[in-house]
Subunit: 172 residues, 4 copies
């Protein structure tokens, strides 16, 4: 079994950063990736691909990427489903980003870091100790707009039963 995705595209809007009850960061964003060909009308279309990223890279995404930023994603396709507001089952296919690469030029706004600073947000360590850092570690360079960030369940993909949070808290 193999499952690998690589994307390069532009954020359709600012990323959204949330935290699980135990304090794990999760960011969601949508990449617009232009197709390499034109349709019959001669127009270049794009695919709009929903992405999710966890933990430290999630905070990096929230801090360094914004609407229009060009970014690269290396990850996997994940599918999940949940009960929609009308009782119907909703199926979701999205990309779980294992690393996100900031592909803007150095002279871009916000990226004033000196010299050797690296531009990729790598990792998603499998078992970071959780729970203590709730709401911490958020001293952002670009002040993140979702102050009063909302909580999400520890695993938004699981859709596992008794979640004490509203649908609005789920990524997408």
């Amino acid at each position: 079994m193999m499952n690998r995705v690589v994307l390069v595209g532009r954020l359709t809007k600012d990323p959204e950063l949330r935290y699980t009850p135990s304090g794990v960061a999760v960011a969601t964003f949508t990449l617009a990736v232009n197709r390499p060909f034109s349709n019959q009308q001669g127009e270049r279309e794009a695919d709009f691909i929903n992405c999710v990223v966890w933990r430290k890279p999630a905070e990096n995404v929230a801090n360094f990427l914004k609407k229009g930023s060009m970014a690269g994603v290396d990850g996997r396709i994940q599918t999940r489903n949940y009960e929609g507001q009308d009782g119907r089952r909703v199926y979701v296919t999205e990309v779980l980003a294992e690393s996100v690469q900031f592909l803007e030029p150095k002279n871009s706004s916000g990226n004033t870091g000196g010299g050797g600073r690296s531009n990729d947000f790598y990792g998603a360590p499998p078992r970071e100790p959780q729970g203590s850092s709730y709401g911490g570690g958020n001293q952002n360079q670009r002040q993140n707009s979702n102050q009063g960030f909302t909580r999400v369940d520890d695993d938004p993909f699981a859709g596992s039963g008794q979640i004490d949070i509203s649908d609005d808290d789920l990524p997408f």
Copy 2:
């Protein structure tokens, strides 16, 4: 802009083969790809990823793959949306397979081809001459079950306006 997907998994059921009004083959199938880790309950979960493939490789998929077959896919993520039966917009994310690889052992059922036969269905040539081969080229090894196959619009992804076919004809 880059968009690349590689998958290896098993078909959740037999692939479905359809033809556009102009006779272009399109096959759809779902790959179950087991995740490389277990969840909190110690269970191995899977992602169920919808795939589409066009033209000759579509017919190969229909002829050589079936429920449970292990297959590899090399392609791109595509998104599209259409008006659901209840008037709401439905968003779809799926994999456009550019090549499909048959990964079953040679001693598997149905695969009795001699010697140097290759197992990958490659191609999706951008501009095959269309229209003449409608319903042709379907002399299947495994007799395809959707005799009386249905028609789909030339580009099921486009969702472009005046389609004279029902929703049931669309892939997925």
Copy 3:
């Protein structure tokens, strides 16, 4: 069988453009791709990956990329071997780029193209009619430096016996 590579990195020097005797363009370049981690000395190392691209995208690479350009490559790993000058067999592993993406910001030097111009060089059509365009189609935006470009065999990868050209003509 599957073989897929996706790279994003920077050209270590200007690409080199050559033509086969029958006039098919081939460009070679090396991408420096920084590793996502530091070594024991705390230094970020890079991998230097040789790439080859054919036909129209080769000319695009020669025209739009130069030393330091950030580029994305989608392709395959290819291996070949040839008899070295000392009689020993030399083994080469390189990336055959099927598409190359120009990832520089629009305000970069040389990229003054208006509006909707696309930045990816896609294609490598399997069987373009050959032979007539020898040395043609080279009206470059950035004047290509290897005027007096050399000829290479129709398939530099094959290393197949009786080649009437010197080693210098081989890509790498």
Copy 4:
């Protein structure tokens, strides 16, 4: 910067397992990946791609794969260079496998594991505690042939100065 490789092919011979002086396992093997097209002579050629894998997955590779096994690799391209026996610098391009997938059918030899056993060797944890497990953990299912395995430097890729081992100890 991005660097991703996905391969599916067959081992050209049994994998080789070695250990660093501090006891870290490293396995090397070559994958033959058939090309998806034929050459001018109508023959299907293959690429022979050298792969390296570390730690636990290395031992799994040595235990479960052998010449002819079909395997999938998800990893990165790495380049390194070293001083050859004749004083010339030798450049190496190989694939660092981050996970290896066993793609043989269940009825294959050696794979008699019961029920839910998973077939992928995943991980390459960045910083496993080293040094204590030297020579341990080698209770192989298929008895590994390189008894009297040799030692390699902790990082064969680094080529970093004072190595007290011969060239033969290096992977490849």
